[in-house]
Amino acid sequence: MPAEINLMVGGEAGQGVQTIGFILAKTLSRAGLFVFADQDYESRIRGGHNFYRVRASDSEVQALTEEMDILIAIDQNTIEFHHSEIREQGVIIFDQDKVRAEGKKANLLGIPLERLSQEKTSNKLMANSVAIGAAIAVGGYEFALLEQTLKEHFAHLGKDIIDGNVKAARAGYDHARQQSPGLVRPRIKALNQATDMMLLNGNESLALGAMAAGCKFMAGYPMTPTTSIIEYMADKGRKFNIVVIQPEDEIAAINMAVGAGFAGVRAMTATSGDGFALMTEGYGLAGMTETPVVIVLGQRSGPAVGLPTRTEQGELGFAIYGGSGEFPRAVLAPCTIEDAFHTAVRAFNLAEKYQIPVVILTDEYLATSYQTVKKFDLSQVKIDRGQLISDEEASRLNGYKRHQFTESGISPRLMPMRGKALVVTDSDEHDETGHTIDDAVMRNRMMLKRLKKSDGLNSEFAKPRLYLKPDAEMTLVGWGSSFGAINEAAQMVEKEGLRVNVMQFNEIWPFPAQAVTSALSSTKRSVVIENNATGQLRRLIRAETGILASGGILKFDGRPFSPKQIATQLSKEAA
């Protein structure tokens, strides 16, 4: 059985919860463990209640768990809200001068965090590092791991800050080992010391994928949870000749992406539901003008502004049916943080190959969760620009029809100003040359030409990921970011004797109907597990295959699934 350690840190916004959590995650990664970490925060900059959870294990982990071994309580609320989540033998670390923890069912490790910080660094503001030191001590790890992490983390703030934090952490570390040696746990050892592991979140992974795929133009208006994609690309992209624009609104963003795509570069935008709403007109524009563009739709709890910092999978239908009229599109939903990288690459390839808009459906959970993943192999990234006319061909072109009829529906694509041929397209219905038309025959042919591309897409679309077991009784079905939780839940229920398959969708639209039909017929029952209130995938499966999954597990309180929640529900379903 895999061994693991779970930590939580909680406090108000502005108290450094995220920093503590991230440093813990990184330190444990450095110990060779597989780490998964996620934050829970409100839409405010100070106050309220935030928390961060870190799960570290000797085996791969792709979800959080509810039971904590160590809780760092920066404020009183953290204790009140979370003490019940502490496992027996768990430890609460807190500032004994500020927070009361008496009577809580856990081992209490009260430390004068601020006082120690003041004492050791003449600055009480390093109290958080004292707490981190204590936590690493309780975890049973060597201090050097933490020291290295702190040095890296604070590197850009100069020597004084680095030294101060290291000193403070050391004080906490020593304090814990000396005052409460009984609380120090046996450290979990790395089984196969993974090398070349990265610790990154879903947005970073996706942004890296986009950049590796050759995205040269990103226009994005800030919106949780995809803002950090824009920010990451704005920062890192500088070195790699990537233009990142923050325009006046989302309408400008999508139209810019389309404009850049038309001119010939790989272009994208990123937003969440309300921003996507504003983009749906441009979505159709890309469909009509056959312009490649990638749209990241980071779902959060809707409708409208909803819970802006919380997760949901509420926009599958919107991505598939959104936009005026009918046009081909691809909808992808990365299932893991690693997947986000590959999905981004895939999205750009599909967008250019089929000359369509491609939506990447992520969500707040995937966007902000951190995980240790094996370093991406960039030499494996294949860029397929589809039927893009080369400079050489272009120079020999004798006339050009942007929307030429072909067998596949895909017309060879020319960038303006490669050669002398003119590139003409139109949001009105048009003929092969791209000029406006109004007659029924041409209209029919053009519609069919565009929609034909769905066939090609469909034929090369990945099947949902299938984890089939002989004699399974039930198939668990999910899409996107819930993969980790569903997968772990499957393992849990298997231990209780329920044999289950897992089918997880990444490439959802065009819908891989055949594969789904055959997969679902392999078990008597199927349960669709979704982070929404109306069961969108379940309905989609029925629309496309006629199969009504026997059950659905829905969650729409803005929080991601935990494996245990799913497992509990499954046991009920099975009973």
Binding site: K26, R30, G32, A144, L145, Q148, T195, D196, M197, L199, L200, E204, L208, M211, A212, A213, G214, K216, F217, A219, K236, F240, N241, V243, I245, P247, E248, I251, A252, N255, M256, V258, G259, A260, F262, A263, G264, V265, E281, G282, L285, T289, K375, F376, L378, S379, V381, M415, P416, M417, K420, A421, L422, V423, V424, T425, S427, T433, H435, T436
Partner: protein
């Protein structure tokens, strides 16, 4: 060298006989020829409206997009390939109504392309509703009691420090062709408003109406004085000034972009492996002991 015939219409022209748009088309063709531009060097971007049909009526690259969304498309196309001469065209409804936010932001951003608005003070393609520039009292089917207060696009432009602000008149082809040339030559965002009579839906602001009012800016008019330009930009009614109302030489947006320094974005190769260092940054370095 391209000639006028190279800029002939690429499809049947669908405007009404007598429409002011014809004059604009002629002036544009002349200006492009005079500048020695070839059709394949020019990208025309438009939205929806009678003016939005413009790019189809002369040979060039064409992106005829959505109503009101001309400027973001043009902005990005220019950034993606700054060797293109990009010209955005549209109507007053398209540019000042639906596209108002892009209008003020594009002027502020100052990407180097030309934006020409065919201002007929009415929504023509949808058969005659009030536009943001309809004169107060102008009766249309959506404003049976008359239009309300108008926007003053040139004043907005000066307020946004637009780097080239001019007005011309579709019936004065020489003047207009010259203004278009100046606008295209100008380094920075050039906004040109063209007074364009709509013979079908605007029976108030007719050729005669404009003819009676327009005058050319005095020789000694100084378009670099922003406050004076604002005052000039507000002039409307009995007298309507034509010419370059305002001009400055603010830095151009794309020139500060490091990414474009070596070559246009569209010409840059794609190499996934160059990103190795970003992966390194995220890699968790295993502990190096004794350091």
């Amino acid at each position: 060298m391209a000639s006028l015939t190279d800029y002939g219409p690429a499809m049947e022209i669908q405007w009404c006989p007598g429409c002011g748009n014809f004059g604009i088309l002629t002036a544009m063709r002349r200006a492009l020829v005079a500048l020695g531009l070839e059709p394949h060097q020019v990208l025309m971007v438009s939205g929806i409206g009678q003016a939005g049909k413009f790019p189809h009526y002369l040979h060039s690259h064409v992106f005829n997009g959505l109503h009101g969304r001309t400027l973001p498309v043009a902005t990005a196309a220019k950034i993606a390939n700054h060797e293109l001469t990009v010209i955005a065209v549209g109507g007053d409804g398209d540019g000042y109504g639906e596209g108002g936010n892009h209008f003020i932001n594009a002027m502020t951003r100052n990407v180097n392309f030309t934006y020409m608005v065919h201002n007929n003070q009415v929504y023509a393609l949808t058969k005659g509703q009030a536009s943001p520039t309809s004169d107060p009292g102008f009766v249309t089917k959506t404003t049976p009691e008359g239009a309300w207060a108008p926007l003053r696009p040139l004043a907005l432009a000066v307020a946004c420090d637009c780097s080239f602000v001019a007005r011309s008149f579709s019936a004065d082809i020489d003047h207009l062709a010259n203004i278009i040339q100046l606008g295209i030559q100008h380094k920075g965002f050039a906004f040109i408003e063209v007074l364009q009579p709509c013979v079908s839906f605007n029976h108030v602001n007719t050729y005669e109406w404009y003819q009676k009012r327009v005058y050319k800016l005095e020789k000694d008019y100084d378009p670099t004085n922003r406050v004076a330009a604002f005052s000039k930009a507000l002039e409307w009614g009995e007298r309507i000034p034509l010419g370059v109302v305002y001009r400055n030489d603010r830095p151009v947006y794309e020139e500060q972009l490091g990414a474009l320094r070596t070559s246009p974005l569209v010409k840059q190769g794609l190499d996934p492996q160059q990103f190795e260092e970003l992966l390194e940054e995220l890699t968790v370095q295993p502990l190096k002991p004794h350091r």
